[in-house]
């Protein structure tokens, strides 16, 4: 049973596609496992539907309709073919959502920690999977931006509590913690570290203790 969910602001942003892509992967993977949030999402999307229906229409040139008619018999792009390409982020996200985690490229950071770097999304986010071996612990660290975590397998505990598969956790900037895998198995988490000023300019690479570990 999932106990920790995205808050209503996060779900609202997600329902309007205004959440950054990496965070959206966390939310969508949570949704894959949480019927409660699925229902909330349906309701939030209906806000969009009502607002669309009630907006003041803007006339469309009749030529647009003619153009669409000409294209109705087009065969849609075959996305499945593109997705077979393991270098694309689409493919990576699909593996994460389907739980095919052994297909990703893992890098051993310490005896109890492996990391799969999922790539930069939109240039401003750290987006990774963490595999903590049973009994293992991530060194204490703090956050200079928000950290969003989704537990995919197993569980972990930190100063604030214990979390299990499907749980969605947000740590604000300044929080300090040292997550440890719960007894009973390894723990795999999806984590997104958000740089605080996403839209103003591209940031220098993050220099958190975790990433120094990863670089080394």
């Amino acid at each position: 049973m999932v106990k920790h969910h995205p808050d209503s602001n996060t779900l609202a942003e997600y329902s309007a596609n205004s959440l950054p892509a990496a965070q959206s992967v966390c939310v969508s993977t949570h949704l894959d496992h949480c019927t409660l949030c699925q229902q909330k999402l349906a309701q939030l999307e209906s806000i969009g539907g009502v607002m669309l229906e009630d907006t003041a229409p803007v006339s469309v040139d009749p030529q647009v309709f003619e153009d669409v008619l000409l294209r109705l018999d087009e065969v849609p792009d075959d996305r499945a073919a593109n997705d077979a390409n393991a270098s694309t982020l689409s493919w990576t996200v699909k593996q994460v959502r389907q739980g095919n985690l052994d297909k990703l490229q893992w890098k051993k950071v310490s005896r109890s920690l492996r990391i799969a770097d999922l790539g930069r999304i939109d240039g401003a986010t750290e987006f990774s999977l963490y595999h903590i071996s049973e009994g293992g612990r991530i060194p204490q660290h703090n956050h200079s931006g928000t950290e969003m975590t989704l537990v995919l397998q197993g569980g972990f505990s930190d100063e604030s509590g214990a979390y299990h598969a499907g749980d969605f956790i947000v740590r604000e900037a300044g929080d300090v913690h040292a997550p440890a895998a719960l007894p009973g198995g390894d723990c795999i988490c999806l984590a997104v570290l958000e740089a605080p000023l996403r839209f103003t300019h591209w940031h220098h690479r993050w220099l958190s203790p975790l990433l120094q570990l990863r670089a080394g």
Binding site: E53, T88, L89
Partner: protein, 209 residues
């Protein structure tokens, strides 16, 4: 999976397809989509286009996010998707306007990514969640929810309605909304939460956290 047996009316002969079957969402736009899905009905598609294309264009232009030419392109893309994805529309799970909204939202996100030349190969659908085929009990909630949202929307205070428009029509994040309106981020967040409470969005789904 959609329970075809339980819907009963879906297999009606074409001549009576515009009649209103019992127990199904009855608005004319949902019926249009069903006609498109089942009969590749171009007349129903034209009717749907005439109603929604100007709304999608308004959506594309809101917040002056796209040029007029790109707005027309977005209308085309959304309407092609309507034609291609009509079979996946379940009138018992969502209003047609909500379904079109999700398509338009995704097409606009993908267009933004193309125009801004992000090199990441990721599309909105990769990180989206389609309710189709999931949790059957959500159907009734979604339908009631949409009706209630419509009724309650008119009673929202202006400051909350304005922020919902930024979020849903302009696709702005909370922090972009805060910057544009010169408000603290916390104020934007609490107005969104208040609006969601007033629209009783989560009443059917369970308690608000």
């Amino acid at each position: 999976m959609v329970d075809k047996q339980g819907e009963g009316a879906r297999g009606q002969p074409a001549t009576s397809a515009w009649s209103v079957p019992q127990g199904r969402r009855t608005d004319e736009w949902s019926l249009c989509v069903v006609r498109v899905a089942e009969h590749r009905d171009r007349a129903a598609f034209a009717k749907f286009f005439a109603h929604f294309a100007p709304l999608i264009k308004a959506f594309a232009l809101s917040g002056s996010s796209l040029s007029a030419a790109h707005a027309d392109e977005l209308v085309q893309e959304v309407m092609l998707k309507v034609w291609q994805k009509a079979a996946g529309f379940n009138p018992e799970k969502a209003a047609a306007s909500t379904w079109v909204y999700t398509i338009a939202r995704n097409c606009r996100t993908d267009m933004f990514r193309r125009l801004q030349k992000f090199d990441t190969q990721l599309e909105a659908e990769d990180v989206g969640f389609e309710l189709e085929g999931h949790e059957p009990t959500s159907a009734l909630h979604a339908e009631r929810g949409a009706q209630r949202v419509r009724e309650l929307m008119n009673h929202l205070p202006q400051d909350q309605a304005q922020i919902l428009a930024k979020v849903y029509m302009e696709g702005k994040s909370h922090s972009e909304t805060a910057a544009e309106l010169g408000l603290p981020l916390g104020t934007v967040k609490s107005r969104v939460r208040l609006a969601i409470q007033k629209l009783q969005v989560f009443m059917a789904a369970g308690s608000e956290e």
